[in-house]
Symmetry: C2
Subunit: 385 residues, 2 copies
């Protein structure tokens, strides 16, 4: 069930003292090959963390032999010194493993704006390298050491006939992926070339990680990496691989949604009948980010008027007199006015589905979101994160 | 201190039983002239309430003799029947006052999606007409009967040498004015023509109501009306009038901000150095709407990394390596990295100022917002509004 499920990978996770609470905070993932093909997608936030800038250079080669990840600090907004810290981290991993620094991707997560304690990080890398293993326990350690406000590690695997996918992800807040999401590393022992791997990752991320919007905050550090060892010897067609990869990503995203900060509701917003898929996504995201809609979800209140208000604020084309809104199967708004009695829509359970039909064209999109609860406010106001 | 401060106006506010709690819910404002010039700005939400659609037709004439406002129901998303309800309300006011229905603007506020109880509303209009007076008490009644989640009525006046302005406003949530805001009615006894009145209102609203963003939710009912009786006989130059009107609007907006749902912090976000004023406003609004920034404000936490994250998500041009962020006078982020020790920024008080310099151009803008507190979540999840 871990990143070590495919053949050709070893991992570890250790406590290096970067986190003040003493929890694990340094992860190492190593691809032992024979292949070292890789693909990656990164945050579209203009303010990019140093490890994102570094890893974009690494991925430009299409190859990755190792990934080092730390929690306890995002190394974002840390200037040239922060970039040098990332570079030094990659150099230390490379020297320890006997590879080149350009083969080492780096990911960081935690508070923005603070430098990393490099002595502790270097010692952590050395300790992590000594514990590298291809066991399930080592996979769990790897997924655990990247956690910040996550309450549980998030893993997934997808085992096929003769080849496999594995992966972990972290992220619970500042979570509105844009062509990438929170930190995630995915492994496979299938045999694919660089272009196939890249196409598969972009296609899968677009319909999975990019469809999650917890709080509208695309982070400075979002990264999804896909490492390919080829150790199974199985050549897999790109279509089949993309299908399985999408399923694995969907599994990880469901775990992210379930563990979002303060979450009490899992909300799926589907928009149909938009002028285009892009306008459908914009509409769904506008509803997903509206605090009045999110607090109504928290209150188990089928307050479709707030949804109509949010839809009307989306920069998309539609006729308000044709707007339909269905909540948990009940058509509460039909043709822009009250439909069935909204009290029929029972929102007391954990899952809420909102279906919006704009009747303006063929565009469709689905966005996953959460409610806005006291727990979210508590978690994000009580301390810096 | 009320809408009755200028000469030529009478008002009233009564309880008609539209609100279940028995509070006042119908307001009438009458312009006795000699002039009946008027200007209005309305919500840009595509989903417009019936009274907005009606009042836009009334204001197209440039004249208003009376305004009827109700709380307890927004009459939005109510279809053709809802529009007929608004029309019938205007007809009833007109018959009662002996004027034409096209002289009567209508405003509604409350839950979206429900029809208004027309029998109660008609009886309320009749009762309100019987209580019309030019007293301060009648002005307070008028401002009180439009309240929804507001905790206090909001008035302002601006008395000049020989002429005056008065006004009230309501609004505490679903508050992100876009070319208009919550319900507000402003009166003056100065003498101005239609084009001067219209230009003054648009200029004043643009820098006052439109600079407030409580929760990003532009409502379906936003309306600001400006009624001119000319009863002072004083012709006032448009520039001078605009200046005084802007001051009055600023006063009302400060009261809206102070009474926002769950507010514990008054946050002023100023963006300088943007490519344009529009991009500055977009940047300020992106920060104002970011829940991670808003919860940090609630927690009195000078977490500038969240502000940098939000700025990086705004669709505007800038170089992250030049970004400066100042919180309550402390330059916590300089040239994209940590500046002065952020613990120097004391956010324990009620007022928080955030200054962001993008160093990309001459554009400036200021947006007023609030924090995201447990009170906001409680107020918006515990019952439908």
């Amino acid at each position: 069930m871990t990143i070590n499920s495919p053949k050709g990978f070893r991992s570890s996770g250790v406590a290096a003292g970067i986190k003040e609470n003493g929890n694990k905070d340094v992860t190492l993932v190593v691809n032992d090959g024979p292949l070292d093909v890789a693909a990656g997608v990164f945050t579209r936030n203009k303010v990019k963390a140093a490890p994102v800038l570094w890893s974009q250079q690494v991925l430009a080669t299409g190859r990755v032999k190792a990934v080092v990840l730390n929690s306890g600090g995002a190394n974002a907004c840390t200037g040239q010194e922060g970039f040098q810290d990332t570079h030094a981290t990659a150099e230390h991993v490379a020297a320890t493993l006997g590879i080149g620094a350009i083969d080492v991707a780096v990911c960081s997560t935690g508070l923005i704006g603070a430098r990393l304690p490099m002595d502790k990080l270097r010692a952590g890398v050395t300790a992590a390298a000594a514990r590298l293993a291809d066991t399930e326990e080592a996979g769990v350690d790897a997924a655990t050491a990247v956690m910040t406000t996550d309450s549980v590690p998030k893993h997934a695997e997808s085992v096929q006939d003769g080849w496999a996918l594995g992966g972990f992800a972290k992220g619970a807040g500042m979570c509105a992926p844009n062509m990438a999401t929170m930190l995630a590393v995915i492994t496979t022992d299938a045999v694919l070339d660089r272009s196939g791997l890249d196409a598969a990752l972009r296609a899968a991320v677009n319909v999975t990680f990019n469809a999650l919007d917890v709080d509208g905050g695309t982070s400075t550090n979002d990264t999804v990496l896909l490492l390919c060892s080829g150790a199974s010897g199985r050549e897999v067609p790109v279509e089949e691989f993309t299908d399985k990869l999408t399923g694995l990503c969907r599994d990880l995203v469901a775990q992210l949604q379930a563990d979002a900060e303060g979450v009490t509701k899992h909300v799926t917003i589907t928009v149909r009948g938009a002028v285009s898929d892009a306008e459908a996504a914009t509409t769904a995201r506008t509803v997903a980010r509206d605090n009045l809609c999110k607090t109504a979800f928290f209150g188990s209140d089928p307050n479709w008027g707030r949804i109509a208000m949010a839809v009307g604020n989306a920069p998309v084309g539609f006729d308000p007199a044709k707007l339909d809104i269905t909540i948990n199967g009940v058509v509460v708004c039909a043709a822009g006015a009250a439909g069935e009695d909204r009290s029929k829509a029972d929102l007391s359970g954990r899952d809420i589905t909102v279906e919006i039909d704009l009747h303006a064209g063929p565009g469709n999109a689905t966005v996953l979101t959460t409610d806005l609860s006291h727990g979210y406010v508590e978690e994000n106001s009580a301390y810096s994160s």
